[in-house]
Amino acid sequence: MNQNGRDRVDAILLALLVTGMILALYMAFLQTPREKTMGDLQRIFYFHVPAGITGLTAFIVNFVCCVMYVIRRNRWWDNLALSSVEVGVMFMTMVMITGPLWAKPAWLVWWAWTPRLTSSLILWLLYVAYLLVRNYVPDPDRRALMSAVFGIVAFVDVPIVWFSIRWWRDIHPSPMLETGGLSTSMRPGLWICWAVFQVLFIYLLRRRFFLESTREEVEWLVRRAETAH
């Protein structure tokens, strides 16, 4: 796609985001009912859960990119892999901040070493380590291959986070959409927040990806100019 087409898509996404975020704030704070026992505290749920799902989505995208890079050796996949992890780590950081904020009043502690919390923390550490691998391998092609291999190994933890509240007993709330524990009046709010987070993810991913592609192009031009001298 050319520059103009790209900008137009980004502009549409941005407009969608701004209206979506206002709507999401309205849904989360005003439209949805007050929770019976937790009160307004429960409203953090509309940010915590969508951020978590979006973070995991980003790591799935990264896994696909890593596998594709190993097979195809095309830098396009590597750029997308890097972008998805950076955005994913950001969403996971949101999860790790909103979780303890909710836990302190609800459980009376900031943190508990239960399977769900521990595996989420490990997940966050793994993808920070992935970014470290990228920082410390100087050669671009090596960097792409090394981080792709590490990304594939790191992904082993993602299903564990997803299944942790389904396999083990945990004080972390169980998946309420599946068990039907979530009141129907709260569902539209959750779905809208989830959709807005997905749009935000796609928007950030695109911007980061184009930035990385441009950087790669500049690098290539500089190298060509140097050899021409």
């Binding site: 691998v133 410390y136 564990i160």
Partner: protein, 223 residues
């Protein structure tokens, strides 16, 4: 295939027996870690047995990381790695041979560290030893399965040896957590059925990591 794996293993073993580079380092470091923990745990001297599983695995993992670091760093000297890559076998074979060597070195180090911990912490454990062997065997296999792969990645980085623990520890954390849990069941409870869960998780991780690393090892050693 087994003969080829054993050839790579024998090569590493022979180098180790002649230089005694890694093993000396691993043993010394493991014992130093135990001494430090001995002072750190002074306030809970009366119930020290409950803290031993964690202490043991920290010592195992720290000394094991030192050993893994040498695995490929030593090959880089005098371009031994080029020689190894020219051997006409599948790269996966080299991986399995290296993994076997790393596991054997670690198990030797673990045995010595364990004996020292019995003296330092005044433990009596005769009945528990067979279970301890089982847990350390699975835990060590899981650790080296992914450790050898990441060790090969870390020699590609600017930081070389310093880098390995940074990327290795987050990946092996699930194995370490369950190994500590299993050791704790062995040393501090009577109901050994509680071993099923941690041992299953450790085994699954070990198998998944071994298969992944076997398939991916080809790429990290490419020139």
């Amino acid at each position: 295939m087994l003969a080829k794996i054993l050839t790579v293993f024998r090569k590493d073993l022979l180098i180790e027996l002649r230089t005694k580079d890694s093993l000396n380092m691993m043993l010394f470091f493991g014992i130093v870690v135990l001494v430090i923990f001995n002072f750190a745990l002074e306030p809970i001297r009366d119930s020290i047995r409950s803290a031993v599983p964690g202490v043991l695995w920290v010592a195992f993992v720290f000394s094991g990381t030192l050993g893994l670091n040498r695995m490929f760093a030593a090959e880089k000297e005098n371009s031994c790695l080029q020689g190894l890559l020219m051997v006409p076998v599948d790269r996966g074979i080299i991986y399995l041979g290296k993994m076997l060597a790393a596991t054997v070195f670690m198990l030797i180090a673990e045995f010595v560290i364990f004996v020292f911990s019995l003296i330092f912490f005044n433990l009596s454990v005769w009945a528990e030893v067979p279970y301890m062997i089982l847990v350390s065997l699975i835990g060590t296999l899981g650790f080296t399965a992914v450790g050898v792969l990441l060790s090969a990645i870390s020699i590609n980085t600017r930081m070389r040896e310093v880098f390995l623990p940074l990327i290795l520890f987050p990946v092996v954390l699930p194995i370490i957590i369950n190994a500590v849990e299993a050791t704790s069941v062995i040393l501090n409870t009577v109901d050994y059925r509680l071993l099923n869960m941690p041992l299953t998780i450790m085994s699954v991780f070990t198998i998944v990591f071994t298969v992944l690393a076997y398939l991916l090892f080809d790429y990290v050693l490419e020139d």
